[in-house]
Assembly symmetry: C2
Homo-oligomer: 443 residues x 2
Amino acid sequence: MPHQKTPDNPPARLSLISRHLAPDYPINTPYAVERLPDTVDTSLLPKTQIRAISSSPTMSSQPPHPTLLIPGPIEFDDAVLQSMSHYSESHVAPGFVATFGETLSMLRKLFQTTDAASQPFVLSGSGTLGWDLIAANLIEPGEDVLVLGTGYFSDGFADCLAVYGAKVTELKAAVGSRPRLPEIEKALSEKHYKAITITHVDTSTGVLSELANLSALVHRVSPDTLVFVDGVCSVACEELDFDGWMLDGVVTASQKAIGCPAGLSISMFSGRAIKVLEARKTPPASYFASMKKWLPIMQNYENKKPSYFATPSPQLVHALHTALSQIFSKPLSERFARHKETSDRIKKAVADLGLKQVAPNPDDQAHGMTAIYLPETVQIPQILPSLAKRGVLFAGGIHKEIVTKYIRFGHMGVSVLDPSRGDIDRAIKALEEGLSECGYQKA
Amino acid sequence: MPHQKTPDNPPARLSLISRHLAPDYPINTPYAVERLPDTVDTSLLPKTQIRAISSSPTMSSQPPHPTLLIPGPIEFDDAVLQSMSHYSESHVAPGFVATFGETLSMLRKLFQTTDAASQPFVLSGSGTLGWDLIAANLIEPGEDVLVLGTGYFSDGFADCLAVYGAKVTELKAAVGSRPRLPEIEKALSEKHYKAITITHVDTSTGVLSELANLSALVHRVSPDTLVFVDGVCSVACEELDFDGWMLDGVVTASQKAIGCPAGLSISMFSGRAIKVLEARKTPPASYFASMKKWLPIMQNYENKKPSYFATPSPQLVHALHTALSQIFSKPLSERFARHKETSDRIKKAVADLGLKQVAPNPDDQAHGMTAIYLPETVQIPQILPSLAKRGVLFAGGIHKEIVTKYIRFGHMGVSVLDPSRGDIDRAIKALEEGLSECGYQKA
């Protein structure tokens, strides 16, 4: 915590001390342990405290800590974290209403939409809530949805759609790949789908979808099919042109490339999607996630008018405002280019180590993360602690078919954009040294 | 922001400056403007900047700002706000898993349950999400639910239940009152209800329900009816004995008496409720709010095992951990007594000013807020700015039948528990002076 003031009461102080002393064991994967509690044998993990290593050689108001390079949450900028400590404000007071309104307006720029009919939403919740927004508001029970299957996260999107009554067809690709345009065209010509869903980057595999071409195909072959995108691991690090690519909905979260702590579901919907919402035959199938409830609230905030459906988090919205202001201190195109350059450098280093990526085809590889197959002789409970000793936290696997065989390296936000932190160089060096410590030598 | 470091890039710095200069207009009601955009004539509001007045005469790491005394969000303690700035951690790293696990364990103490079958949940979301938890998981379509109608928030709970297919019977009381035990007994004897819902404190009226007696009645008359409580404006300021009162579910939010910024839905369910969840004939009707999905995750966190369904907010959970640690630095009974004493003092001051409360019966009056009818000659757009000029922010009305006729004074958390802040005395003095400025003299 920046400039942590010692709390006045002993339990809180003790708790802070214990947190600072808590060993950072390397089970830092967001997903590997999901429903797989037995795959990580914690008895193998180091029992001694790992020395915290500064995340940055430059001055930072954050205490020294290991560099978090998982595919979200990412490392956060000092000013963003400080915005999280904003003093308490009413969620309907003019100061906060202005902050929220500006935040919504900046999201239009981030998604690259100038169409006044496009509508941003910012709700308290996880990224997952974005799936519910689409499933409960823009699909009605019994309607067909085509899900492009790229891994764990497209499967999750499909599960969510089914909960709300959609008839889901999942077009699954092999692990590390994505459905190809001809098979998608075939699927679209065989049945009419209300919507297609695309996981722009599937965080389980690091597979990037070719969103522009895909959307063009849908608009050509099945023009009234809505195009919905899971942009959780893509928005703010992958090129995404909401208007130009004729997208109908993109849902994302705060804690990845946008660079704001977790706790916000962030989304953009097209005027066409809003018309579909308004024309529903049945009411939205969720209360908290009802876009009909939230639509006037978001419109009022952006028009600087106070409004209430459920209480937003002023602190998180301030942090998002700061993160977006930082993003727009430079052209978006430069941001995307920097992520691509850094990704290329990481992927070259991985290849130079003799390692393969889960996504073998360069055209299918994300630019904000790299999913790396481990050498057969190296196990996750060896390599992750070895990296952690070197002050770098990677994630384990999550895709169930390969869960123990790969690790994930997230490279988004300040770790990419602020080279003075040295995060990426340190991570590449740690990976080299860690693999060597685990007995791996390039063949 | 405590110890705000000037951000390095101009847009963010400008934004911070502009926020600090933003006039705090008095439309600080969380609810008055909800669906009533035309009831507040913003042309009446002061156009000049209101000087920010320190919230506390003692040293604080927060910049000077008006004291927020609406019924949530409340003023937050320095250490809680500083926890919001915690450096980035993986949501499945051992340090954070321990923090989350301890937080869940502390919630058992807060709700006063020692039954191992009770289950706490902490999800990213607003307090409203708690209604969805109950409606989508513990009621099946077509089942009858009896809603005790105390105002805007019980109406909202009823709406949410209906969205998920419950057959809702709302037993409505007159404004400022609550349904009485004999009529509730009559209702319970006329039809079998799967559940009854009680808004412990209806934030729209300041009406407190007699939860202990109510639950005893339900258990006597209709023992298999589940007892669900909206505790958004009661948990941590009103006595609530989860085990002793045989409650099946209490849902609340972070930003009220618990004293943690908004963004978390916090709830406790009984072993009986969890059995009902597990015995559902239909799947839960929500994906993000599926208690079946979250149950193993919460259990794993509390057992210090990493687990994933959707990414929680490490920063908000740290802040909640700090807030709960502070709560348990003193006995809960003392906390409740202090809220009651302060409430009594405020209610006496209101009566001494010749004003009436929306809840006329002392037994029906909440201890964390006071809903006050304005004199007929004083209007909301006069009194709220007058209070704001004196550094105190109250809320306007929200109950649609009386929306323009009353104001709400929130008195929860540090403003009550830390007398050195002087918040309550300053608010009472501001109310006296403000009414006088508006031309009101006690008859």
